[in-house]
Amino acid sequence: MSDKKKELKPNTYKFDTLSLHAGYQPHKNAGSRQVPIYQTTSYLFDDVDHAAALFNLERGGHIYSRISNPTVGVLEERVASLEGGTAALATSSGMSAIFLTVMTLCEAGDHLVVSSQLYGGTVNLFRLTLPKFGIKCTFVKPRDTEGFKKAIQKNTKGIFGELVGNPGNEIMNMPEIAKIAHDAGIPLMVDATYQTPYLCKPFEHGADIVIHSLTKWMAGHGSSMAGILVEGGKFDWMQNDKFPTMTKPYDGYHGLSFAEEFGPTAFTMKARAEGMRDFGPCLSPQNAWNVLQGIETLSVRMKKHCSNAEEMVKYLSNHESVAWVSHPSAPNHPDAELANKLLPNGKGSMIAFGIKGGKDAGVAFINNVKLASHLANVGDTRTLVIHPASGTHSQMDEATLKFAGLSHDMIRLSVGIEDIDDIKNDFEIGFRAARKPRLVSNQ
């Protein structure tokens, strides 16, 4: 028998177990093995004292499903656990999660530094809508790390970006940009929808707030809209006077200081108490439940998404109809080294490629593939394609398209988990049609 003393190891649950169990205890829910759907608007108070205590945040619990709901709460805890976060707040969509994050952080007169390579809807929020609330933004190209530093102003309250830009696949140097943000006393907010916590946990690389469109890979089934913001819990809101709504007494809750009372969960508490109360983009319990079904198989699906994507990168890179391919797994990707560091479990399933023949060829390709679905979503278990310049980013003018790194020949491919040979065969049909664009358009 060995004399070697057994090393102490924390015995907390690992990723795959948390995907199935976190946030839920059956014995507290009539033994129901599946998470119940609490399809209700409101919750009984025991008495007047209990009601007052809930409204004053004296005790935990549910009041009204706009603010919180037990089914949604399971989803929030599950995602917080998977991300390594302290707390999470689910919303009706990814866009509402971004909006709520910004409105929790900023006031009129504030400024944000934002990566230029974002989903088109997010670009429009930062470029056109937030200025209407008095919040201005400076866009910086994701690879221009020094540019983020230069863009910070006295009234800058945070940096925002997608870890892997949509749709060009440029990667933000998250650790360095986090350091820039923290040196300036501001948080880094990262939209990690493309990665899911299976591929990357942004808190481990310096992010302070992580945002997901749960509609995408987290759910996977493409049936339900949902978003979430997750708090890392490390950011010290009291280190400077930039965030008075976090640190000073808040009239909306009897002079409560969120940072003093809730520390590592202060941001989420404020986003819920103020944001859900006043804006109300709540997630329905049915959609929360639907997303939970997807998360149960997250790691299994992501492995297949990534292996299929790597196969497609090889196939497209060698195809005569393809001008260029962009995916972090490609050895010639400018951010390949950074991708290996930040995405060790796989590089995701979003591929951008240029089709020879430009816009007409792209249109012909999209119109002729049969298995791949032409639609405005990503991260479905099914393979999806779109031509961004005429679809997701069509509301941008020519200059903005160029700044966002978009070209007219670009096709955005979200690789599904079908049999890889079937996806390739389908693409052959599309490419054949693309080589005869005039004929196709006359059909």
Partner: protein
């Protein structure tokens, strides 16, 4: 609120209500390496119901300045100094884990000042696992990870936080890592390990005392809590099933209900 004790600034959460000298005082003392925030689901209730609720950050912890105190006896004297510093003559004490050692020692030393004592996850002694102690003293974050694992029962490990959206283990981890581990957790663990007077101190306590214990507590096993309670005259004991050492968060409502009944009965609030 902030005030000074022995020349150092002390932070104490007042539960969201202004401090009012006319109201009776309850002081909440946190466990090793933690902060006032562990009490958020108890302090706010008392603050809104006729008490001055002070969840202190021990010196060198959370938002309090100074260096961590090196012995339970020093911490006990410091709690007494806090009562003086805020202009009160007496207080009700509530402690969790290491905070139980501190409040037991304080109550035995200052019997005329302490009107009730509430202990959560308490014991008369908390000898530390030598490897855990060494990790904490060497600033190894694994010490926090181990503590969070052992300190949480099913609610902590699976989830089901009473506040929607919060995740127990990660929140506790961030609290414990908010200051340098060796200067907080390391010093606290050593102080717990060195403290030997708990059982003798308990025998001297005459004020109403409540012990809330949990069946799945691995940090301070329930038999140790019962042993301590048995040494205090007339001590009440409440046992929570299927719960770990962090009962003040894992079963916050149950803890609040029991605590509310005990304190309001034995140390009534200022009626409005």
């Amino acid at each position: 609120m902030k005030f000074k004790v022995n020349g150092h600034e002390v932070f104490a959460s007042t539960g969201g209500r202004p401090f009012d000298k006319k109201k009776p005082l309850i002081i909440f003392v946190h466990g090793s390496g933690l902060t006032h925030m562990t009490w958020v689901l108890q302090t706010r209730y008392f603050a809104f119901h006729g008490y001055n609720s002070l969840a202190v950050d021990l010196p060198g912890h959370g938002l309090s300045s100074g260096k961590s105190l090196k012995s339970i006896e020093e911490m006990a004297d410091w709690v007494s100094d806090v009562i003086d510093a805020v202009g009160h003559k007496e207080a009700s004490l509530v402690g969790h884990s290491q905070g139980c050692l501190v409040t037991v020692e304080c109550t035995s030393r200052y019997p005329n000042k302490i009107k009730t004592l509430s202990l959560m996850g308490g014991a008369g002694a908390i000898p530390m696992n030598p490897e855990l102690l060494s990790l904490a003293e060497n600033n190894d974050p694994k010490a926090v990870d181990l503590m969070m694992d052992w300190a949480h029962g099913p609610a902590g490990h699976f989830g089901g936080h009473p506040v929607p959206g919060l995740y127990h283990i990660n929140t506790g981890t961030m609290l414990a890592k908010s200051r340098t581990i060796q200067n907080t957790l390391g010093v606290d663990f050593r102080a717990c390990n060195n403290y030997k007077n708990g059982f003798e101190a308990a025998k001297k306590i005459k004020c109403p005392t409540l012990s809330i214990l949990a069946t799945d507590d691995k940090m301070c096993p329930i038999k140790e809590g019962k042993k301590l309670a048995s040494l205090i005259d007339g001590s009440q004991v409440d046992i929570i099933d299927n719960c770990g050492h962090m009962m003040l968060l894992e079963e916050a409502d149950r803890v609040l209900t029991v605590l509310k009944k005990f304190i309001t009965t034995n140390y009534p609030p200022l009626s409005s």
